[in-house]
């Protein structure tokens, strides 16, 4: 079991153990809007953050708190970052999760050649292992210093998914009086969807907005924020928080529960409720608005 422990001489930055590969796959798949997609992973004493970015306009972060792991040994100083292919990472984790069996996976970084090493540790007679090559990360082109101007705790994001929007962008309007959210699209015909807060309390769980806010966002980016969340997770979706910050930065936050496969572990039953509460992965998307000079705003 300790085969690769001594390889590098000094201890690796991170050794952690995971017993919910499928939950992790679900969480990471939510931000996988392309098949081949690069991600940056940042590890710290609090957990692991995975960051994905596209064309400077869309950014997603998955927060995997250390409580999600069975064991979490962090020995590095600073916050090591490395880049890897998100697609490969997800596909690789997927090979670990066999139906009906949730193996304990040990994740280790860095390996002798700076790889990310994964292996199962719970069965001596059958093991799965993986080595993923990492690279020096790209610098994250923008870090959002997010200040809220209005936010909605809502599940209406499905509207973005389910409707046929006529144009390439959607205007989101939050207005305080009457409190409501309006989504508007223009193109070959117009589409406007209005969600009055008081009529949709099951849809808009909370609403907070002091001033009229209106920004336009690329439809494909909005779609990316919701459409890749696996259906299995959507069933017990805890709602998403949609916030528009200063300058129109849109933040959409999902909470995804990272359950163990099967969910029934004899030893975990007593504290099951508490455990399940902490077994949540936070996923945040940031979408930059379209430049607002011209209302048509086509390139």
């Amino acid at each position: 079991m300790s085969s690769s422990a001594g390889v590098g001489g000094d201890a690796p930055d991170l050794v952690c153990q995971l017993d919910c590969a499928q939950g992790m796959v679900d969480a990471l798949s939510s931000v996988r809007w392309k098949r081949h997609q690069d991600a940056v992973v940042e590890i710290s004493e609090h957990g692991v953050v995975l960051i994905v970015e596209e064309s400077g306009c869309l950014q997603a972060k998955v927060y995997l708190k250390r409580e999600l792991f069975l064991a979490y040994e962090y020995t590095a100083e600073g916050r090591p970052r490395f880049g890897l292919s998100l697609g490969l990472f997800v596909d690789c984790l997927n090979t670990f999760s066999t139906p009906g069996h949730a193996p304990v996976i040990e994740i280790r970084y860095p390996g002798p050649d700076m790889q990310l090493l994964l292996k199962t540790v719970d069965s001596p007679d059958a093991c799965i292992y993986a080595e993923i090559r990492t690279r020096i990360p790209d610098t994250i082109s923008w870090d959002c210093n997010f200040q809220s101007t209005g936010n909605v705790h809502a599940t209406f994001t499905e509207a973005v998914d389910d409707l046929e929007w006529p144009g390439s962008s959607i205007q989101i309007v939050l207005q305080p009086d009457p409190p409501s959210v309006i989504l508007r699209g223009e193109g070959h015909g117009d589409l406007q969807v209005e969600f009055p807060y008081y009529a949709n309390t099951d849809l808009l769980i909370a609403f907070q907005c002091d001033q009229h806010v209106s920004y336009r966002y690329k439809y494909k980016f909005l779609r990316a924020t919701t459409s890749h969340i696996p259906n299995s997770v959507l069933k017990d979706n805890r709602g998403s928080k949609v916030t528009i910050g200063r300058g129109g930065m849109l933040k959409i936050q999902h909470l995804i529960s990272v359950k163990r496969a099967g969910g029934q572990h004899s030893h975990g039953d007593i504290s099951g409720g508490i455990q399940q509460l902490s077994r949540i992965a936070y996923i945040e998307f940031f979408v930059k608005p379209e430049e607002d000079e011209s209302p048509v705003n086509d390139t």
């Binding site: 079991m1 300790s2 085969s3 690769s4 292919s85 490969l88 596909d91 690789c92 997927n94 090979t95 066999t98 139906p99 001596p124 007679d125 059958a126 093991c127 799965i128 292992y129 993986a130 080595e131 993923i132 090559r133």
Partner: protein
Amino acid sequence: MRSGLNASRTPDDWSFVTDIIVVVAVVVYRWSKKAVGPPVFFDRTLPPGSLTTKSTDRLISPRITQWEGRQIERAMKFKAFLTQDGVHLLDKRTLFFSQSATISDAHFRKHLACSLLYITINLLSGDGVQSVAQFNKDVLFRDYRISSQNAGRIAFAVDVALLHRALRSALTIQAQARDDTAAIQIKLVKKLPAGSRDPAPFLTFETKGRVSAVVQDVPISKPLPRDDVQQLQSALEAAQDLPQTLVQVQDLAQLQSLVDRLRNVGDLLTVAITRYGDLHLQVSTSLITVGSEFRRLRVLGLRADPPIGDRTLSAPTRTEMAIQKGEGLSVQVSLKHLAKSLQCHLAKPDCAFYGIAPQGACLTVIFQFFIPGTRLTDKSISFYCRLPVLDPGSGP
């Protein structure tokens, strides 16, 4: 309406069949681009378990190499009743090929043979997975009659999907009859297809129930010429070259699930098998390596004790050491091929053995069937696949 083969039959025609021990029907899909399906090859010369042709055939006409001319037609006959067990074996356990083959690959080559009935896929084409299912004729047939001028063998190509469909229809009629009288008879016939002037060969299924009778003609290719039959025979014989070490995999569903997921990672799989009973699968690309090792599997053939202390080593190191010591072999195969061979678990084998042929010639998978209700091997059916090796790999 029925033409050809059986029309002029007299009891004497079948007198020679008393010495038939084995029938090989080879259905070869190699002419699948033509409208007809695969070839079928019936061999009356082979004792079960031995595939060498013995010169028992008084009927052979050595000059005849093509299935042409009335003389041969007259000599080539096949007729039998399917047994209940036979129907079950074909329907539930073997003809699953129909799904995998027709959907995945139009050029899929397929052979159906009887010794024993052989169902062989890709045996002659050389590319892709070769599969051979082999049954003792007594399991499949009763009142079995065959004759040909080709050492008592007939081989033809048939579209297995059509064959399966005909079988299912026959089964339905049989089920409606609710008794055993509705036997399914199959025979080779030649008849004039609608809109055609040339008679074409068919494999006909005849089921007579109490209230209805069904006759279903499955188009087949012309029987294979002698050369092809010989080639098929030698291919079957070559396939008897067993790996020296076989390891047993019991949970094929688990393996299939793993292989399906590995296919997302890469295309090439390195398979290593050691005499300690370890099966090691690894996919490796420039960006990622994913592997899985199953240890302490049951070993058939050459075995060895694992070196002391190897538990502390990583799976790749362990495998590499075994290969260096000559106690393991490793080959590279296509994951697509392996996935395809794993579809064979739809045939519900009781377990499977994996082995690498000498010199890494191929990866062999032998499926084992138990006699229902026992742990005894059912010797009347044998079923194996051979996966082509893409690169005679040296190590994982």
